[in-house]
């Protein structure tokens, strides 16, 4: 039904499908968003002399490395879902979508656990010092983006059950959700290096 492409007035002057173009346009603005958050952290992390502890002192690198690995692998499952739908393999698409959502939720669980240990065990809350404020805000927004991604993935899964099939033409389309998902992953690549690994 919505798959009927109204060819007579859907033309693409750039040759790129309009929704994909729009998603890239949006993602290019997200660089400015996360750039500001990362800049904040870089600015504040060197400010000591206030209430301890500071984020850099209490990171659990092994734990976060595993989280990062999980998110990286979710990009793999995501691209496999994308590949499957281009082959019109509904079953595999659904499987890989669910896998991606699950890995995303594991990542989020890891973040939640990490935050809880920081607050409860280490005594670093968002209001403890500016570095902590910046850290929680940055990773919190990243986590929120992951959550939104998971919701979109689960919506796609829901659509695939309800309508019996997903196609590349529906409004909320897998290809664009995939772009969003990978973007969230590459932001984490930057955060992991710049915030966690470089002290």
């Amino acid at each position: 039904m919505s798959d009927v492409a109204h060819e007579e007035h859907v033309h693409e002057s750039t040759g790129v499908e309009t929704r994909k173009l729009a998603m890239w346009v949006f993602l290019s603005s997200e660089f400015m968003f996360f750039g500001a958050l990362i800049t904040n952290y870089l600015l504040f992390k060197g400010r000591v002399g206030y209430t301890a502890p500071y984020p850099a002192e209490i990171f659990d690198i092994p734990f976060t490395s595993v989280s990062s690995f999980v998110l990286l692998m979710s990009s793999l499952t995501m691209v496999l879902a994308d590949h499957a739908i281009h082959r019109d393999d509904q079953r595999s698409t659904r499987t890989w979508l669910i896998a991606t959502a699950l890995l995303g939720m594991v990542f989020l669980a890891g973040q939640a656990y990490e935050f809880t240990t920081f607050v409860v065990d280490e005594g670093m809350k968002i209001s403890t010092n500016p570095a902590a404020s910046a850290f929680f805000t940055l990773t919190g927004f990243h986590g929120t983006h992951v959550l939104v991604g998971v919701i979109m993935l689960l919506t796609l899964v829901g659509i695939s059950f309800r309508k019996g099939r997903l196609s590349t033409a529906t409004g909320l389309n897998l290809e664009n959700v995939a772009l969003y998902w990978h973007f969230v992953d590459i932001i984490w690549i930057v955060i992991f290096t710049v915030v966690y690994l470089i002290k």
Partner: protein, 656 residues
């Protein structure tokens, strides 16, 4: 009545109304959305103007008693916030929405429902912001000076009061208790989201939905300016979004970003704000520059001089606009190296601006000028913007700026470029495109009266501010003592402000009269150049009866006129029949046309932000958190419902 697609496709039946208020709530038609933006923006213009008049009453003489300090702070804050975010930006959106598809030959924008969403987020954001008058509290001021020892301001003062720029930590939790600044931060956040969504929409539309033959360098300059503005919005809004989140978190969650007592940084706010704030002022002026680039050629009966240069200059202004933000911070303690660098960068922006000015002059040179109302406003734009630009360049000289900053000299500068520039350009556009909207012409007599009253009033209001500022009259201060001898010129300023107000009344009279009883415009009343004039007036619902086939820049003009050996236009013998033919195919489209179907979801998604906003501010009260959760749930379910809904119902057709 169309048959909806399979019953499982939507949760609710699609709205079908074509008239009445429900049709406006569910519309996804760019023209209706543009009209809603326009009227809403105008209402806010009146409110912002009233706020200005109150300020001017207070400052008309020394030691004014009309407002107390708290009320003054609130009024100047709301005046600025309203004019920038609730008038100039939305009226720009009104023009973009209405005209963009018409000028590139499309039926609608790339994402019609998202377009409606932008409008509803804007209007609910504006309502949220203004509800601070009703619900906002200022709390006990720190070291306050409220008369009679009051701990809360009067209703006039109980609104956003930290300046439109909300400098930290003054506007943070330590020094501004109460809720008004939460309304400010959250309200702006909501408004920013609306503009960001629009920006993505317009970029996708301009890049992908141009008619056949409408190459990028054949687009009207107004559309190029729309594109540059969209990119400015795209890259600057995320920065202010982060800054507003930071201040909201400082106020609600106890973060320490801007609390200088605990390691926070006040200057960081200024950087983040002005990183957005400077591109923002180009967002405010470029649409008007685009409008004037359309009207000057039409009323000089000459093509725009140096079209590629004007386009390139616009893009350059946008690009350079990201590199000059710290010129708002010359006296905030940044290093001399930074000051020199930003001063230099600011000077360079004068170059592309100058290119545009000279090209506009070149357009008019040796042209056959018609002094219609839109032309008068366009000429006013050029003259007044140059004055504002010149004072702007004086700010780029850092030591001079140390003297000028925070005085009325700066107020003079930005009002010349924003009022003399943006607002004159906006009125030029309103008079020029009124026939497209209504099929009628506005009254030339009333239009000219409006222009002259506004021109005189504007110069009386903002001219004296130049020397008042250099004499030392400080900004953002609620009164001045008699010994400074500022009283005489301030009285002139106040009189000027009321003259401006009277000119607005003339405009409103003109608009309402002409809508009903203006002279009928017919097709192409201005003998214009661009393709939005190749369709009937008022614009049919489907825009173009036949998709345009564009052969050149100013395609419509070239269908009516050839050029002789001297380059002068010669009307083609078949011009009249061309016009008639385009009129007929516009009124009677030869083939069925599919239009996007209306939808409820943008309205509900937009409304959910009200719940979210109030929920965040009052989350510590019993009902606050549930309200927040309700807002989030409403938003999510609207978005999910939207994603299940096809853009167009099958078999939905529109016939003449």
């Amino acid at each position: 009545m169309a048959t909806p697609a399979s019953p499982a496709s939507t949760i609710f039946r699609r709205p079908r109304q074509t008239s009445g208020w429900m049709s406006w709530i569910t519309t996804v038609d760019h023209k209706k959305i543009g009209i809603m933006y326009g009227y809403s923006a105008f209402i806010f213009f009146i409110l912002g103007g009233l706020e200005a008049l109150i300020l001017r009453l207070q400052l008309a003489g020394p030691d004014g008693t009309v407002l107390d300090a708290a009320e003054y702070n609130a009024m100047f804050t709301m005046h600025g916030t309203t004019m920038v975010f609730l008038f100039v930006m939305p009226v720009g959106a009104a023009f973009f929405n209405y005209l963009l598809p018409l000028m590139i030959g499309a039926r609608d924008v790339a994402f019609p429902r998202m377009n409606a969403l932008s409008f509803w987020i804007f209007i609910f954001g504006g309502i949220f912001l203004y509800s601070s008058f009703l619900f906002g509290t200022t709390g006990p001021p720190s070291g306050g000076n409220l008369p009679g020892g009051a701990t809360d301001a009067s209703w006039l003062g109980s609104t956003i009061n930290g300046g439109w720029f909300m400098y930290q930590p003054n506007a943070g939790p330590r020094f501004s208790t109460g809720t008004v600044l939460d309304y400010g931060a959250i309200g702006l956040q909501i408004l920013g989201l609306a503009s960001l969504i629009s920006a993505v929409n317009f970029i996708a539309t301009i890049l992908n939905m141009r008619a056949k033959g409408m190459k990028l360098l054949r687009m009207p300059v107004f559309i190029w300016m729309t594109l540059v503005v969209a990119f400015l919005l795209l890259f600057s809004l995320p920065i202010i979004a982060v800054a507003l989140f930071m201040v909201t978190f400082d106020r609600q969650l106890g973060t320490l970003f801007f609390d200088t007592f605990q390691g926070g940084d006040a200057v960081l706010w200024q950087h983040l704000f002005w990183l957005f704030g400077h591109p923002e002022v180009y967002i405010l002026i470029l649409p008007a520059m685009g409008i004037v680039s359309e009207t000057l050629p039409v009323f000089s009966r000459k093509p725009l001089f140096g079209y590629p240069a004007v386009v390139f200059a616009g893009a350059a202004i946008g690009f350079l606009g990201f590199g000059v933000w710290a010129h708002h911070m010359f006296s905030s303690g940044i290093t001399p190296v930074a000051q020199a660098a930003f001063g230099l960068a600011t000077m360079t922006i004068a170059v592309p601006t100058g290119i545009k000015i000279f090209n506009w002059l070149g357009t008019m040179w040796m042209g056959k000028i018609k002094f219609t109302t839109p032309m008068l406003f366009s000429l006013g734009f050029v003259a007044l913007f140059v004055i504002g630009g010149l004072s702007g360049v004086t700010h780029s000289i850092v030591p001079a700026d140390w003297q000028q900053t925070d005085t009325y000299y700066i107020v003079a500068h930005f009002h010349y470029v924003l009022f003399g520039g943006a607002i004159f350009g906006i009125f030029a556009g309103l008079y020029y495109w009124f026939p497209k909207l209504t099929g009628r012409m506005m009254s030339e007599k009333l239009g000219k009266l409006h222009f002259w009253l506004m021109f005189i009033g504007m110069n009386l209001t903002f001219g004296p501010m130049h020397w008042l500022g250099l004499q030392g009259m400080v900004r953002r201060t609620w009164k001045y003592p008699a010994e400074y001898n500022f009283g005489t010129w301030n009285m002139v300023v106040t009189v000027g402000a009321f003259i401006i107000a009277s000119s607005i009344l003339v405009f409103m009279l003109n608009w309402t009269k002409s809508k009903r009883r203006g002279v009928e415009a017919g097709m192409d009343p201005w003998d214009a150049r661009t393709i939005e004039w190749s369709i009937p007036n008022p614009t049919p619902e489907w825009n173009f009866g036949v998709n345009p086939d564009v052969h050149s820049l100013d395609d419509w003009w070239h269908r009516k006129y050839d050029e002789d050996e001297d380059g002068r236009p010669v009307r083609r013998p078949d011009a009249d029949s061309t016009i008639a033919q385009f009129h007929d195919q516009g009124v009677n489209p030869p083939a069925p046309i599919h239009l996007p179907t209306p939808s409820y979801f943008p309205f509900f998604a937009g409304a959910s932000f009200l719940a979210v906003g109030y929920g965040v501010i009052y989350h510590t009260r019993g009902w606050g958190l549930p309200l927040l959760i309700f807002g989030v749930v409403l938003l999510l379910s609207s978005l999910i419902g939207w994603s299940l809904e096809p853009l167009e119902e099958e078999h939905e057709e529109v016939h003449a």
